[in-house]
Subunit: 480 residues, 2 copies
Amino acid sequence: MSDPFVVVGADAAGLSAASKFRREAPDRDVVVFEKGQWISYAYCGMPYFIEGRIERMSNLLSLSPSEVDERGIDLRRGHEVVSVDPDAKTVAVETTDGDTVEQAYDDLLVATGGRASVGPFDVRGLDGAFTLHDMDAAAAIDAYIAEPDEYDPDRADVSAVDRERVDRNAAMAAPETAAIVGGGYVGVEMAEALSGRGLDVHLFHRSGHVLSDFGEAVGERVEAELVERGVTVRTNAPVEDLTGDGRIEGIAFDGADGPETLPVDMAIVGVGIRPNTELLDGTGVETGAGGAIRTDEYGRTTLSDVYAAGDCATAIHAVTGEEAWMPLGLTANRAGRAIGATIAGDPSPVGEIAGTAVVKAFDMEAGRVGLVEDEAAREAGFDPVRETVTAGSRSGYYPGAAPTDVTLVADRDTGRLIGGSIAGPDRAAIRIDTLATALEADMTVPEVERLDLAYAPPFSPVWDPILVAAKVLNGTLDGD
Amino acid sequence: MSDPFVVVGADAAGLSAASKFRREAPDRDVVVFEKGQWISYAYCGMPYFIEGRIERMSNLLSLSPSEVDERGIDLRRGHEVVSVDPDAKTVAVETTDGDTVEQAYDDLLVATGGRASVGPFDVRGLDGAFTLHDMDAAAAIDAYIAEPDEYDPDRADVSAVDRERVDRNAAMAAPETAAIVGGGYVGVEMAEALSGRGLDVHLFHRSGHVLSDFGEAVGERVEAELVERGVTVRTNAPVEDLTGDGRIEGIAFDGADGPETLPVDMAIVGVGIRPNTELLDGTGVETGAGGAIRTDEYGRTTLSDVYAAGDCATAIHAVTGEEAWMPLGLTANRAGRAIGATIAGDPSPVGEIAGTAVVKAFDMEAGRVGLVEDEAAREAGFDPVRETVTAGSRSGYYPGAAPTDVTLVADRDTGRLIGGSIAGPDRAAIRIDTLATALEADMTVPEVERLDLAYAPPFSPVWDPILVAAKVLNGTLDGD
């Protein structure tokens, strides 16, 4: 136990692990290497910063470097871990000065996160084209949207920010028309954000409805809201290319009547993220779902004393019991914390993931959990049966009651609930937690139907929309 | 099978049973006797009608008599079932004309509901003093509050209404100061309602905090909101008497410095309800918790072919597995529906109750589930350990984030979650459903801590308040 616990990456998973470890094992050392300058920022808050709901970028930082220091964590920013030798139990670290040093570890956590996938597109070569996966991108987007004489440099009030990139984007003429490539949750959130900044927004999605993972019922509801709020939604419209010379000029896509080009002066490419696993290339580590680093129930990789957590690691799915890769914030925080405890001597499972996700599109809220799409359910060996109902969010006579769509998916043979989604403008999103809890408890649909859920006119009708959906799905399962 | 299914009482439980029975057994007869004229009204909506949020009393009716008729249900209003002969399998029915007829049954459902408890107070003898347990009372209260020349008789737009009572109350001078006796959820809702009508409201509660069943943390939070909104809250202030001669004049109560009298010109007594079980007096039926009619998992009483459901019947508590009496709307609807199915030939358990309840006090929301108070937990054989945390309802940087109090109660030996409560102004109430689901699944606190709950800045922080509470309670259970 002479060498420290070494963590690669100072974001949600890495710092959660380091913090928990120091609390549980105060006499042992932990070193966190971060290749960049940013630490512990709220990725999920970036669309709302860009929208302008959040005034200062510093609001999105959970922990400052000095707070990390106060926790007794040896944080080294500008230190990139470039290789791991699992036999020698050392890592090689490059500093921003170009020096390379070797660091021994007792235990190693790889928390290298993910990066935006850019698909086939040349985003870096075009001004006005962006992905959104780090704070520097968020700051640059925010600056780009503003007119040069109206940009407030105090918006990006964090020393880590790439000031040169911000200044360069701030100096460009403000865009009027933006394309968003990809209708996942980042795409939907950015559609709201850019509309909020006064842009004419066009959202392109490859398949038939946005938010594919949320299922068709949610996709349709969210699309209706986007359209209602002035966003042009183009589904079944795969983008072929971003065009332009120096600055973005157009979006080439497959329209209903063949190839088309839409002139734009801004584009956000949000076609997913990829796990950063390259650090372990050549070590013989196994990778799994989504190409992420394979981990077990304690976050251990297949290398001895090497753990992985967060967007770079797999997890166990609560419904299938199988490996899955779902890069989400709570998963990273939770796994990091558990691994910190485990390494400190208190073995703690990282917990399963249910794929719970929620998203807001203007006044529409949506959530999903488990296996929502038939294809995913079949792949996992289930025979999916689904029902979608629309029910009131409150007693019908109470002001504010709004139609809430609930989809429940069950396995035909066992009646077990395997997934669900929800959409509606009135507190719909948070209701997904009820389904997440039911899923993790392996409840059947009849058990869901008998849940004693809350009833009071301002909050829910006697039969909560979830109970209504369970009733209907039970009827279907019974062959009614 | 020659005699019909007979139901006594045409409210939530009774009509749910009759409707389900007719759908499942369309060739069999069902007769519903209702002693009064009202059927199927939304009891829980009455405070909001009185407040004025709901414009017409007819908005509170779920089903009209003609809709019941269309369902093929033989509904007989103004027919009071006065006795049951379980050996002969008949009931005696008195009509409003004074006739008594005998009706045979194959199966009988007693769904006689509950009535307001008045404690030691003479409510009926004093104008301006009310209980709130039926629509006629709601209509009378609404009329009483209005100035005689401002009352809109169309508010009480249901033919069943006791028009004479309404007119008499409407003719009285409008009150200025109201006392509410009892700080349960009806008391809290009525405090909001009467304040909304411009009255100076004084809420009296016998014990140390309002909403006793919700636990101290919720009680304090709700009291703070009531006070903030101008309601005078008097806890530890048992009311001794309502004073007045013809019309209410004062509230005599035990103040901090001895007996006091507060002059008022209106009083609402909300000190609980009692089950209406008298119909089965003398039949040898067993009663149980709360004096309600004892029922089993299928809603069967101890009399052969006699069922009971709703506010007059006991149910099985999901946490204790023991009999309990908790008169709530969903319980009645659900049990009625299950009994209808069972009698039609599809045996269906009525479901357990978790004691889930939610309440709104102005902008504060609160919920409770399971065994919240130590005394209740100990009586059920648990060794309760509790923690209360205050956590944000959304990411701290997102507008609208508000402090949310979560209390979790666990059994020390097993770590099992046995109860919880929640309070906060931002979508706090509906979150109780997550705890209700966890309770019904017999989850432990470590299992709750590992739930994959939703995270997105507009809806929840990374660590949902429920997860934060589970973390803290786990620490306590571990002896940290």
